[in-house]
């Protein structure tokens, strides 16, 4: 990384990358870009910052303020004091911030840059950090919790963010339980902080981080956008939803895989999509955004990655997102084009059954309006998991020609008519298979059959889909209101 975190927050300061670390450390605290006052000021709307706790040596600082007008509570590690290590006083600052946020029902944003518990305070600091974990858990699902990791966040400072709803990682952010020195002394493994807990491992492999940013400023902007989406959800104005022909965003060849991102962005109001976990388990896309001005969440299979199959990681990713939306009363749009669950030994051993069950559980318990759109196909176990009628979908829509089936027609007749097909001469096999498949589709598959038995409510044209989705969500809001799931948001 050439750009460092600190430069963006305080443009008056020389770019941190050009200043050797030894010189930076000696800066007076008032000028240090790691000073929590600077960071909180950069996070919050201009002039809105009001300190909740004294600016002292506790290692933490809390404030209230607004982001795009939405009232929030924020706290920030003070990395100028013992590298942001957390003792009893610093932890009390975080407790104060949480109590205020819970009282106000406001989103809370934590800015982290901390080596973890203060060693010098011994087990008292562990106890204090543990109390933060407890209050975060109590707050889970009640108020949106957003973390921005701007520097190293080790041990307790790693688990703090991990307990929250959305974790943003700045360019200098590093998250790990134990640092490189401990890893080296215990396992002999030589690894640096970047490889241990930087953007690559957490953005792609671990799923710890929801959003990555190239600059500290961008990281804070992600937190602001998330807080606004969850904290000021707005009203769905159906008359402001305009239709566009979404069919153009899919390839003509129905067997061809495609990137679902343009479709997700096309469903949402222009420029509002905020994708969480974009690089981790990319075969399912989870994004917050707005539809008709109101915050909604979108879960979408992405055929470009793994053919859009569900697998153990994507099921887990989607489950957590569904529960996040349910906890905060965010309606869901579920965009389905799924060939099934990914088969294989690796998947089974990786717990695809256990983790796939999370997705069934998450949708089945979900009380927010949740509308399913089947664009091309939905098969088998994945059909059920993707917010089917049986799991309680508010409405299930399908585009004309969509396949709703246990499996593809040809695959199905090869199982059902195995003996008969074995007797067919090889040169006639394709023809007989095609006839059987067409017959099978008439009887068992096809979207018309799904409509007939009531698992698909209506067939909508791609060119009418945005308004149909908005109308379905609006109808549910008008009759049932926007309810919130009575549960926390455990980091599944």
């Amino acid at each position: 990384m050439t750009q460092t975190a600190d430069s963006a927050a305080t443009p008056v300061h020389p770019p941190a990358g050009s200043v050797p670390r030894s010189v930076m450390v000696k800066l007076p605290r008032a000028e240090d870009p790691r000073n929590p006052v600077h960071r909180l000021t950069a996070l919050l709307d201009d002039g809105s910052l009001e300190l909740l706790t004294p600016d002292d040596e506790s290692g933490m600082l809390a404030a209230i303020g607004t982001v795009d007008g939405t009232p929030v509570v924020a706290f920030c590690s003070d990395a100028t004091v013992m590298g942001g290590a957390m003792g009893e006083d610093g932890c009390q600052v975080v407790m104060t911030a949480y109590q205020r946020a819970l009282t106000d029902g406001a989103p809370i944003i934590g800015l982290w840059h901390s080596g973890g518990a203060r060693l010098a305070e011994g087990v008292a600091s562990l106890h204090a950090v543990g109390r933060i974990f407890a209050i975060m858990t109590q707050a889970s699902g009640r108020i949106p919790q957003i973390s921005v990791v701007l520097g190293p966040a080790a041990g307790g400072a790693a688990y703090g963010p991990a307990l929250t709803d959305v974790v943003v990682l700045g360019p200098e952010g590093r998250i790990f339980v134990t640092g490189p020195d401990v890893v080296r002394s215990v396992t002999g493994e030589d690894v640096d902080m970047l490889r241990l807990g930087g953007p690559e491992p957490h953005g792609r492999r671990s799923g710890v981080v929801h959003l990555l940013a190239d600059t500290e400023e961008a990281a804070l902007q992600h937190a602001r956008d998330t807080a606004t989406l969850l904290g000021s959800q707005g009203s769905l104005l159906t008359d402001q939803v305009e239709d566009v022909d979404l069919a153009d965003l899919l390839p003509e060849n129905r067997k061809r895989a495609y990137d679902v991102h343009p479709l997700v962005e096309g469903i949402l109001d222009e420029g509002t999509a905020l994708e969480l976990h974009p690089r981790w388990a990319p075969n399912v896309v989870t994004a917050l955004g707005r539809l008709g001005g109101r915050t909604v969440g979108v879960v979408a299979n992405n055929p470009l990655r793994l053919g859009g199959c569900l697998d153990s990681l994507s099921a887990e990713k989607a489950s957590r997102f569904v529960r996040l939306c349910d906890a905060f009363g965010v309606p869901l749009v579920v965009v389905v084009d799924v060939p099934g669950y990914l088969p294989g030994v690796g998947q089974e051993w990786d717990g695809v059954v256990r983790r796939g069950a999370k997705l069934l559980h998450a949708f089945a318990e979900c009380v927010v309006p949740r509308v399913t759109l089947v664009t091309r196909k939905t098969y088998g176990g994945a059909y059920i998991a993707m917010n089917s009628r049986s799991l309680g979908a508010t409405k299930v829509m399908a585009w004309p020609g969509a396949e709703v089936a246990v499996m593809g027609a040809v695959a199905a007749i090869r199982v059902l008519h195995r003996r008969r097909l074995a007797e067919v001469p090889p040169d006639l096999r394709d023809q007989v298979e095609a006839e059987l498949a067409a017959e099978h589709e008439r009887i068992a598959g096809g979207v018309e059959k799904a409509v007939e038995i009531g698992v698909v409510d209506e067939i909508v044209e791609p060119s009418r889909t945005r308004t149909a989705l908005a109308a379905a969500i609006d109808a549910e809001i008008q009759t049932a209101g926007v309810r919130r799931g009575a549960h926390g948001n455990i980091p599944l």
């Binding site: 970047l194 061809r256 895989a257 055929p303 990655r305 859009g308 060939p339 294989g344 593809g408």
Partner: protein, 77 residues
């Protein structure tokens, strides 16, 4: 960040190679379809994550590839 010398395009899943969409020496971008695979009865285009110049193509049409196999090697642009 340590700079990688080459960029590898790696298979995400078991598939068979339908078509090669690039040649050694081609400049490719994340929009380029360097390979077309078939899996789960779908044709899945493979796009490199970063732009680069094709150094080596390690598969041929008809090959069955496994998750993790290196398909194409690029020199980063």
């Amino acid at each position: 960040m340590a700079r990688k010398q080459v960029v590898e395009v790696v298979a995400e899943m078991v598939a068979s190679v339908v078509e090669i969409g690039c040649a050694v020496g081609d400049d490719v971008t994340p929009e380029s379809t360097v390979l077309l695979l078939e899996s789960m009865k779908m044709e899945i285009p493979v796009h490199p994550e970063h732009a680069g110049r094709v150094r080596e193509i390690k598969v041929s049409p008809g090959d069955v590839i496994q998750e993790g196999d290196v398909l194409v090697v690029l020199d980063p642009a």
